[in-house]
């Protein structure tokens, strides 16, 4: 279904505030910086004895996951609960859509329960935008990952992590390694890094796992890991999805690790203070060795912590944008 790219107007109010968050593409630098700055305030909430603020009290957030993802759903749920919203988790595989109810019928039913926000994960690119176009005004939609298209909150938590450790984007060289072609995370990261002013974004991987038109996104392409990692400040390893092996894009996991797997030795060309990131869940010994994942350069678990704050920021900004638009 529906591969319409989310237009800038769909996710912004007339005065440029966020009302849905569907993609980082077409967002201004100042909007992305607003998200990061707002998230910075929420990070501290996670350190409190009572990890809760009353911002979204009385609001209902529905997690609509058409594709399983324990961790993303959990962090969205935790983010909503820390904002004092009520949260509903709908497991679509078990819901009425499998009994023949259409998507729109289900959404209208959820709207009739006075939901204020849908957090949508779907295997089809464009599904969250489709939902955003068709929901009642005042209901916000957040894209929690759609097909190969985008995963904007993951990209923003990665940007938060980079800014936290590096303090800036200017002058930074960032390398993204692995299965770019199937990765909505990589696509969103590339857009965000370019909007925020990173000096160079590199993608590293076998040609079979790089999209043919990848250069048009504003990246340099490397098929050699050592060359690609030379002098980089940030290394992002992507999850290699095991099903790719079956579709003959890769000879084997072992072969991938031999050429592109990160271990301490392979990281040598990167800057000594380079950080290593991974959107998770990690495949130890496939795209990353345990010595790196658990090593001093790894910030993988911090990404998860920052992810809650970034999702709190996006959720509260979207609800505020919807309410401002409605003049309530």
């Amino acid at each position: 279904m529906i591969a319409t790219p989310p237009s800038a107007s769909l996710q912004l109010t007339d005065d440029g505030k966020l009302k849905h968050f569907l993609s980082v593409e077409h967002c201004s630098r100042s909007l992305l910086e607003d998200i990061l700055n707002t998230a910075a305030g929420f990070v501290e909430v996670g350190d409190r004895a009572i990890k809760k603020v009353p911002l979204l009290r009385g609001k209902t957030v529905v997690n609509l996951f058409f594709e399983a993802s324990t961790r993303t759903r959990t962090t969205f749920e935790l983010a909503a609960k820390r904002l004092s919203a009520d949260v509903l988790n709908i497991d679509i595989a078990k819901s009425a859509t499998s009994k023949g109810e259409t998507l729109m019928d289900m959404l209208w039913n959820l709207e009739a329960m006075s939901s204020d926000m849908f957090v949508v994960r779907h295997s089809d690119s464009g599904a969250p935008s489709f939902i955003a176009e068709h929901v009642t005004p005042n209901v916000a939609v957040i894209n929690a990952g759609d097909g190969r298209h985008a995963h904007p909150t993951q990209a923003m938590l990665d940007m938060y992590t980079i800014r936290h450790y590096k303090g800036r984007f200017e002058g930074l060289k960032v390398a993204i390694i692995g299965d770019i072609v199937h990765s909505r995370v990589a696509r969103s990261q590339i857009h965000a890094l370019n909007i925020l002013g990173a000096e160079e974004v590199r993608v590293i991987g076998p040609r079979t796992l790089l999209p043919v038109d990848i250069e048009s996104l504003g990246v340099s392409v490397y098929s050699d890991l050592a060359q690609g990692l030379k002098d980089v400040d940030v290394v992002i390893a992507l999850r290699l999805q095991k099903e790719r092996m079956d579709s003959a894009l890769l000879p084997s996991e072992k072969e991938f690790f031999r050429l592109y797997g990160l271990n301490n030795d392979r990281l040598r060309p990167a800057k000594p203070d380079a950080i290593v990131m991974h959107p998770g869940p990690i495949n130890r010994g496939v795209e990353i060795a345990s010595e790196v994942a658990d090593g001093p350069r790894s910030v993988i678990l911090h990404q998860v912590t920052f992810g809650i704050a970034v999702r709190m920021a996006v959720m509260s900004m979207c609800i505020a944008g919807q309410d401002a638009g409605a003049g309530r």
Partner: protein, 168 residues
Amino acid sequence: MKYDSKWIHQRLDDMADDLRTLLGERERNNIKLVGIHSGGVWLAAELCSRLGDPELGTLDISFYRDDFTKRGINPKVKPTDMDFEVEGQHLILIDDVLMSGRTVRAAMNELFDFGRPASITLVVLFDVGQRELPVSPDICGETLALGPLERVELHGPAPLTAEILRVD
């Protein structure tokens, strides 16, 4: 109308004296200061040095505002920094201007998320009236009667000055 740094520091000296007297009467000797971003934090730092450097915390009440859905979140929100125990403590809450009382309500809600203080004493530099909630200061530097289109703004942190502005 402008208030220069000398005037504000004179008020701060008076406020510190009044606060010491009040705390003496109420037999509260172990106090902790809490400033509300941004003006209250600047004033709290000044009062802190006048009161023998008690522990100092800062609050950003953006996440507790009751007009959040009208105004949205200020992306310049600063992290709240309460690096001490609140439970059972005597807190001195400090802000620059007391008007509707909504900021103080939000600040007290936030403080209670850290624990149950033994007491909260409210200290403000300017009380401009126009209250919408039943809040009154324990210590006030100056009471102002503002016109309907006037507001007072504190500039800082150094030098600390203030002025009455017309909003149109």
